[in-house]
């Protein structure tokens, strides 16, 4: 049996860019996925926003590298992945909301992130037609952007094949035989594979993969519905994230929601409902559209005439504190997790992919060590991400 350097379980937002990075670094890599092609889990459910303006060093550094990869992809590799540097904005409609965002901005600025506070007037200039009533202003981070998850993952995939990565689709991992002195054997429902190291990049199914080697991984998916409209001419720039919390009367039974106009001219949106569906649900509900539509047209009346084309439900593989889990496991240093991306696997995936390569090749840099501290499986999960 051929022995791979690395087997990656999961051909999704994390697994595919990781495979590309590793293959580029001359590692023999095999990716196994239960589904029929790349990105058929949660990647295709992502709306495509990519930002570095997070609140912790781990995600900020990883996302900054991701943005570099996304934004230079076309000139480096030639594929159009729909990258647009359209920025992110978090408008505030209450003084408390504004204050919270401004406090976070201090942390973000300390990482030299390009983010500023726009007055209501300035904000209305970049989002013509946004509801001005009670608008207190907005953050704006012009370096953030978006790209098509569908095109991006297929671009990473095609590049990874070029570098020599191998894929096995429609194979479900059944057992993992692991010890610290031998290569690891991964058995699927169709075949057996052998590798020095295994990376768990199974997204919503990360916990199930952990169980195969008696590892209890704190990843539980919950799910959100999203939708896409018909395409129209560009009428606003940045991603709009409305962070108003549940208790705000204006938001009724949902928390944050966000939307932007993608490279095709279509508006994509997603909402966090009060009652989250747990597990790997993909159900469509009658609640979503009225719930999100009310908030969207109140915030941005112009959207009322835009036709909704399709809706779907996607999962956020959540960790207790909202930060990912990346790194080797104590029991089996050759079993590496890259899981619990909390709905941000797409935007930080390319950065995580390179980080994983450096873990495998033992070339971690000082910053990497800091990042991995944030993403440590053995951390105290009692903290909470402020700025999901």
């Amino acid at each position: 049996m051929k022995t791979y350097d690395v087997i990656i379980i999961g051909a999704g937002s994390v697994g595919v860019p990781a495979a590309m990075s590793m293959a580029q670094n001359k590692l023999k890599v095999l990716v196994i996925d239960a589904l029929a092609s790349v990105g058929q889990g949660q990647n295709k459910k992502a709306i495509g926003g990519i930002r570095a303006t997070h609140s912790d060093k781990g995600k900020i550094l990883t996302a900054l590298r991701s943005i570099e990869i996304f934004s230079t992809w076309k000139e480096t590799h030639g594929h159009n992945i729909g990258w647009m540097q359209n920025g992110y904005s978090f408008p505030a409609y209450t003084s408390e909301g504004a204050q919270k965002l401004k406090d976070l901005m201090k942390i973000q600025k300390s990482f030299n992130l390009d983010i500023d506070w726009l007055s209501p007037e300035e904000y209305c200039e970049i989002i013509p037609g946004i509801n001005k009533e009670n608008l207190k202003g907005s953050t704006f981070s012009p370096k953030d952007g978006s790209a098509s998850p569908l095109l991006a993952i297929n671009a990473f995939y095609s590049k990874s094949l070029e570098y020599g990565a191998r894929y096995r689709f429609r194979e479900k991992v059944k057992t993992i035989t692991i010890s610290n002195d031998k290569d690891i054997t991964v058995k699927t429902d169709k075949s057996s594979y052998c590798a020095h190291k295994v990376i768990n990049a199974a997204g919503s199914y990360a916990k199930d993969i952990g169980k195969l080697i008696n590892l209890d991984l704190p990843v539980e998916p919950d799910s959100h519905e999203g939708a896409i409209t018909e395409p129209v001419q560009r009428f606003f720039g940045p991603m709009i994230v409305d962070l108003r919390p549940l208790k705000d009367p204006a938001t009724q039974d949902s928390a944050n929601f966000y939307f932007y106009q993608n490279n095709e001219g279509q508006v994509i949106f997603c909402l966090t409902p009060q009652h989250l569906m747990k597990g790997d649900a993909s159900e469509s509900t009658s609640i979503f559209l009225p719930q999100v539509a009310k908030r969207m047209v109140s915030l941005f009346p112009k959207l009322a005439n835009l036709k909704v084309r399709r809706t779907w439900r996607g999962q956020y593989p959540m960790t207790p504190d909202g930060f990912p889990i990346v790194g080797e496991t104590r029991e089996f240093p050759n079993f590496i997790n890259a899981i619990g991306m909390c709905g941000q696997g797409y935007m930080i995936g390319p950065g995580i992919g390179e980080l994983l390569t450096r873990i495998v090749t033992c070339e971690l840099k000082a910053d990497d060590m800091d990042v991995l501290k944030h993403f440590n499986l053995y951390r105290n999960f009692s903290g909470a991400e402020q700025f999901k």
Binding site: A36, E283, P290, V308, R310
Partner: protein, 700 residues
């Protein structure tokens, strides 16, 4: 320029309507009050509604049913589907060039909750199946809501101007579809237990067991205990060079424009597909005063009823069997069609290309069930029944019958004590959906029984029945007051035979949906008997002393004769009776007379340059994805349609994969990918696109 409106129609009333002005790209035009925008544009000779943002190619009508977005225009600043939006006085309608612009909204948008409604039964679709089911449900006192996306119940029945097949007892045979439609609609609208929602589109059966419905522009959420899917069928599309030109659409779209909106979207029509749908569309075209250049059928014989096909041939429409479309030619819209002979493996026979002048090509190559609502209901865990084309593609007569069965099944779900569905109903349902049988060519079988005296002279008066193919149709046998027409073999599916007395009432002539019965009267002259012929294209007027070119059953000429009279009779229901005298040797052979001149079918001899870029025909019309692009991806090893969609956007457009699915599967087939290895696209809400604002305001 005169408007492209139908001014006389042999079957349909043409009501006088108020004219209102509207603007098309700054030009002032006239529409009829409340007219659908696309029809108002067609009436004004406009068939290009804009240009696609991807490749700048022209777009026009395609589904005429709100399912795709090919007909998008900007009406009073808002991008809308022209086929679903009514024109208003002074409305400013503009073509969409590239992506439309979303207008500014100054006023605050009204926001309110969406009404939640519970019902025992939700019937999706008010066509023949849905209405027949509703009548059963009503009769047994079960409560239901019936939704239909049109503003008139009846589904495709209201577009059918021809008399129906089947039997009088089971499916109103001999009545015109449009009349059956309004009769069934009236019954349902008068019912106490059925809530009729017109202009209402079911958008999805959500997994929380609720159905989203846009009811006349207001969004409602319905919780049904049972769903009956009677949503009908959609038409299949074809791959051929130039298949995205304006002026190519389905027969359903055509019938909507012609028979519902009474506009003439074309002057010269070519039809692809010789099933009943294509043949009947050709007949409807003639009734609308549209020239039918020809009809091509890939098989050696038309799949539709022979009597339908014969009607078309006799009127002068050439039918090219074993022919397939090769290309639609034209710059932005169709100016000609190229067809070619094909062998039994459907491969093109070199050198058999023929190109004909035409401005519109109808694609009538088969239907597929709108099965989504059934699947969605099942996955949501709602009890679901289906009927009509949504269950299985068949004739409307069969849809009415199995709708009745489905209706009773629904009743029994709520009232199990209700009578069992009689076995005979299932048998009838089978009969009504049976395909046409082989054509009888044995002359002994087909020659009519004629009254012949001892010296061989014919005498008396009797019908001649030119019905040579077993189809489920028997009204001639039930209408004869003398009971002189019997069905041979099977009471519905057999061939009718005359045997007995005839008093010349003409009822069999006028009820026959195939116009396949004539009457010969030898009583005044044995040498030159009087011949009575049925005629349904009375928009082309035939009057006393006109000369007509008689034809046999297949449209072959049998000479010219003079019309003695031409008129409707008391019982003929808009079918005219044309009376003439013919020599006795052809009296039993004449079936009809030609109305369309040969010059209508104008073959273009100069070579039409067909470029040789292979595979540039469109598979996904919405996103303008070509067969070549799909084939390339398949050859790269992609067998997951979801991945092909991700990379190419095929199936990602407004129609939601309804048109390209079959065409993509053909490419997998051609590339020798086994069906089991192909992963189907995932279907998701919504069934049609709906403005976001509709979900924010329930009008409460």
């Amino acid at each position: 320029m005169t408007s492209n409106r139908i001014k006389v129609h042999p079957v349909l009333d043409v009501p006088e309507k108020e004219n209102i002005p509207f603007y098309w790209n700054k030009t002032k035009l006239m529409a009829q009050k409340d007219e659908i925008i696309s029809s108002a544009l067609f009436a004004n000779h406009i068939k290009i509604f804009g240009h696609h943002y991807k490749d700048g190619s022209a777009q026009g009508i395609f589904c005429a049913n709100g399912q795709c977005a090919q007909c998008t225009v900007v009406a009073n600043n808002i991008p809308v589907k022209a086929c679903m939006t009514r024109v208003k006085k002074n409305m400013i309608v503009e073509s969409v060039e590239g992506l439309p612009e979303l207008p500014d909204v100054d006023e605050t948008i009204q926001i309110s909750d969406i009404e939640q409604i519970s019902t025992d039964v939700l019937i999706i679709g008010g066509g023949p199946a849905g209405l027949s089911a509703a009548i059963q449900i009503e009769e047994h006192g079960v409560k239901a809501i019936i939704v239909d996306d049109k503003d008139e119940l009846g589904g495709k029945l209201v577009l059918q101007t021809h008399k129906f097949f089947g039997s009088q007892e089971d499916s109103y045979a001999g009545m015109r579809g449009v009349d059956i439609g309004s009769m069934l609609a009236r019954k349902v609208e008068e019912s106490l237990n059925i809530d009729v929602w017109k202009s209402s589109t079911a958008l999805y059966v959500f997994d929380d067991k609720k159905v989203g419905i846009l009811k006349d522009g207001v969004y409602k959420i319905v919780t049904p205990k049972v769903i009956l899917n009677a949503a009908g069928a959609r038409e299949k599309f074809l791959r051929f060079k130039g298949n995205s030109l304006a002026g190519i659409y389905g027969a359903g779209a055509f019938q909507t424009l012609v028979n519902r909106d009474l506009v003439k979207p074309t002057n010269k029509l070519f039809i692809i597909g010789g099933g009943n749908v294509g043949i009947i569309a050709g007949y409807h075209a003639l009734q609308a005063g549209i020239d039918v250049v020809g009809l091509a059928e890939a098989l050696p014989r038309c799949g539709g009823y022979k009597v339908h096909e014969d009607k078309l041939k006799r009127l002068g429409v050439p039918i090219y069997t074993s022919h397939s479309i090769v290309a639609a030619n034209g710059k932005e819209s169709v100016s000609s069609v190229t067809i070619s002979g094909i062998d039994k493996n459907f491969q093109i026979i070199e050198g058999t290309n023929k190109t004909f002048e035409c401005d519109t090509i109808l694609i009538a190559v088969g239907l597929e069930s709108v099965a989504e609502f059934t699947q969605e209901a099942k996955s949501a865990g709602i009890k679901v029944f289906s009927a009509g084309d949504a269950a299985q593609i068949a004739e409307a007569s069969s849809a009415m019958f199995n709708g009745k069965i489905a209706g009773l099944k629904v009743v029994r779900h709520f009232k199990p004590e209700t009578k069992d569905i009689p076995q005979s109903w299932y048998e009838k349902a089978e009969i009504l959906k049976s395909p046409p049988g082989p054509v009888k060519i044995d002359p002994v079988q087909i020659d009519p029984v004629e009254n012949v005296d001892a010296s061989g002279n014919k005498e008396g008066i009797f019908p001649v029945i030119h019905c040579r193919q077993k189809i489920p149709c028997n009204p001639c046998s039930t209408v004869c007051p003398e009971a002189s027409i019997q069905m041979k073999g099977d009471p519905i599916k057999g061939l009718p035979q005359f045997n007995g007395k005839c008093k010349g009432c003409l009822k069999c002539l006028t009820i026959c949906p195939g116009l396949a019965i004539t009457l010969v009267d030898y009583r005044k002259s044995g040498e030159n008997p009087t011949l009575f012929l049925p005629y349904e294209i009375s928009n082309i007027e035939i009057k006393k002393d006109d000369d007509i070119t008689l034809t046999d059953i297949d449209g072959n000429p049998l000479g010219v004769s003079r019309v003695l009279s031409a008129r409707e009779t008391k019982h003929s229901d808009k079918t005219w009776i044309v009376r003439t005298k013919v020599p006795k040797n052809i009296a039993g052979k004449v079936v009809a007379f030609t109305i369309q001149e040969k010059k209508v079918t104008k073959q273009i001899t100069e070579k039409i340059p067909i470029d040789h870029i292979q595979d540039d025909e469109i598979v996904c019309l919405c996103e303008r994805v070509t067969a070549g692009q799909i084939r390339y991806l398949v050859q790269q090893g992609m067998t997951d349609m979801n991945q092909i969609k991700a990379v190419s956007r095929a199936g990602m457009g407004p129609c939601g994969y309804k048109t390209c699915e079959n065409l993509m599967k053909q490419i997998f087939n051609a590339e020798k990918i086994a069906q089991k290895d192909v992963v189907n696209n995932v279907r998701r809400p919504l069934f049609v696109e709906v403005p976001l604002g509709k979900f924010a305001n329930g009008g409460q």
